[in-house]
């Protein structure tokens, strides 16, 4: 531990509200990248699979590979990563590891049975179907596990909320739609009204907004000073720039305004901007909410002071 980090730890330990740095700084920052990439990849795979976009599935798979790598970099002992498969009965991190493994294997089997890759396993084979199902199970697990990892963190009251998993699932779906919109736009395809993709994105975005309001309201009205501190950091403190600028402005306002078509008609390039802005907003949502985590202070119950 370098001197600066040691001094920071001592200062943190002295402070009333100690910010969590374990999953935010140094190699811990890679967990933010990992959760962002894996969330977008899971949603992207499911949506692309549903809307039949092979390019979207390839992009999602690549994002999941990067997300998996980021998860490994976050570990201090990555050579022992396989140990993480041992405690799936109780640990959401372990379940997430299984989900990512299912997805990687299933996705690979699926690709190897597609004609675009020469179909070495044969199109429509049982292995192909098994890979398809495995990848879907994996992506569903990946979408769900992240929020539950935070909810299980009893040391961080802001995360220890039942809404967190729902928020993460909604963001994964929204990220998935954005990946699909971006893929189609980069291919130069315009979205026909019949696809309903933009309407779906607006609908999920509305859900995300409601969930954010409930999450903030829940933390503020919970009576938990630590959760309130996290909200304060998010809305008026050290993370306000990222929350307002990244999560709200880039992630919500810009794409919402563009979807109305009032600034410019919904061309392929505008759709690409919508998709990209939505994805960047997803990153800042995870960045700001993870960094807003503050440890529950240890103090005597009031009666015993």
């Amino acid at each position: 531990m370098t001197s600066a980090r040691y001094d920071q730890l001592i200062n943190d330990l002295k402070s009333e509200y100690r910010p969590q740095r374990e999953w935010a700084e140094g190699r811990g920052a890679f967990l933010i990248y990992g959760h962002f990439l894996v969330g977008v990849a899971a949603g992207g795979w499911l949506l692309s699979r549903y809307f039949g976009s092979f390019d979207g599935m390839v992009l999602s798979y690549l994002l999941a590979c990067l997300g998996g790598l980021a998860h490994l970099v976050n570990l201090a002992r990555p050579e022992r990563a396989l140990n993480m498969m041992l405690r799936y009965k109780t640990s959401w991190v372990s379940r997430g590891f299984w989900g990512l493994t299912f997805f990687m294997i299933g996705g690979l089997l699926y690709f190897l049975s597609r004609s675009e890759f020469g179909a070495p396993l044969g199109e429509g084979s049982r292995i192909s179907a098994a890979g398809d199902i495995l990848a879907i199970i994996g992506s569903l697990t990946m979408m769900c596990y992240m929020g539950f990892v935070y909810t299980a963190s009893k040391g961080i009251p802001f995360w220890n909320s039942t809404l967190h998993p729902v928020l993460y699932i909604a963001y994964a779906i929204r990220g998935g739609i954005a990946v699909l919109v971006l893929t189609l736009a980069l291919r130069g395809q315009e979205l026909g009204g019949e696809s309903g993709l933009l309407e779906l994105w607006i609908g999920v975005t509305a859900v995300v907004i409601v969930l954010w309001v409930l999450e903030i309201q829940g933390a503020v009205s919970s009576g938990d000073e630590t959760a309130k501190r996290s909200i304060n950091d998010l809305l008026a403190g050290r993370l306000a720039v990222y929350f307002y600028g990244g999560t709200l402005l880039i992630g919500l306002v810009v794409p919402l305004v563009l979807t109305t078509g009032t600034i410019a008609p919904l061309s392929a390039s505008i759709l690409a901007v919508i998709g990209l802005a939505s994805i960047i907003g997803d990153f800042f949502m995870k960045y700001s909410s993870i960094k807003a985590g503050v440890y529950l202070p240890v103090r005597l119950p009031h009666l015993h002071r």
């Binding site: 991190v93 009893k154 005597l300």
Partner: protein
């Protein structure tokens, strides 16, 4: 059997003897504290009060750190109910640190030296070589000492006898008696972790 500790806040004078004796016993690296003393000040002059709150792993009966650990590195010893870490299994994901509502787990990062650029002194190197880097560490109620029939270092070295150690399953043990007679309480009972470290009111 269920090992537990009782800390008498009326007796604690905030000398940090427990923290130092723990450091000396385990040779914990820089930035790792199995035992700490928190100093809390309240009120405004002239009605000011100061309380010392010694903290360590609570060895909870329902430990969220054990549930959160993806590898099984964090576990509960079945014979005595203490929570421990198998450092050979730990991947250093730090999930357990965030799951602990008492912040009593520490990450043993690389490059640990008390004198910065000078590197480790021979004493530091000798003491910290027993610990793996890149893993999470915490108090285990001095398992090695207990196996030799001794009390944990923080208990044995407390000059004011503020710490008591014993079997919480035995209703006649000193710890059970103190908890009952002096209304022992635990930290963050609302978290439902059932800690095995109790405090006696100041």
């Amino acid at each position: 059997m269920k090992w537990g500790m009782v800390i008498d806040l009326k007796r604690c004078v905030g000398c940090y003897g427990c923290q130092l004796s723990c450091k000396a016993e385990h040779g914990t690296p820089r930035g790792v504290f199995f035992a700490r003393v928190l100093k809390q000040e309240e009120g405004q002059y002239p009605t000011v009060s100061q309380t010392f709150l010694p903290v360590l792993c609570n060895h909870c009966e329902d430990p969220p750190c054990v549930d959160a650990c993806p590898t099984g590195a964090s576990f509960v010893w079945e014979d005595d109910g203490t929570v421990d870490i198998d450092h050979d299994l730990c991947v250093g994901c730090r999930t357990c640190m965030l799951a602990c509502p008492y912040s009593n787990r520490y990450f043993n990062d690389n490059e640990q030296a008390y004198y910065g650029d000078q590197g480790q002194t021979p004493y530091e190197a000798a003491r910290t070589s027993q610990h793996q880097e890149g893993v999470v560490m915490k108090c285990n109620f001095c398992r090695d000492r207990r196996q030799e029939g001794k009390e944990p270092a923080c208990v044995a070295n407390c000059p004011t006898v503020a710490r008591h150690f014993g079997d919480l399953d035995d209703p006649t043990s000193n710890v059970s008696r103190l908890i009952k007679e002096r209304a022992g309480f635990v930290l963050h009972p609302d978290k439902g972790t059932k800690p095995n470290v109790y405090y006696l009111p100041a």
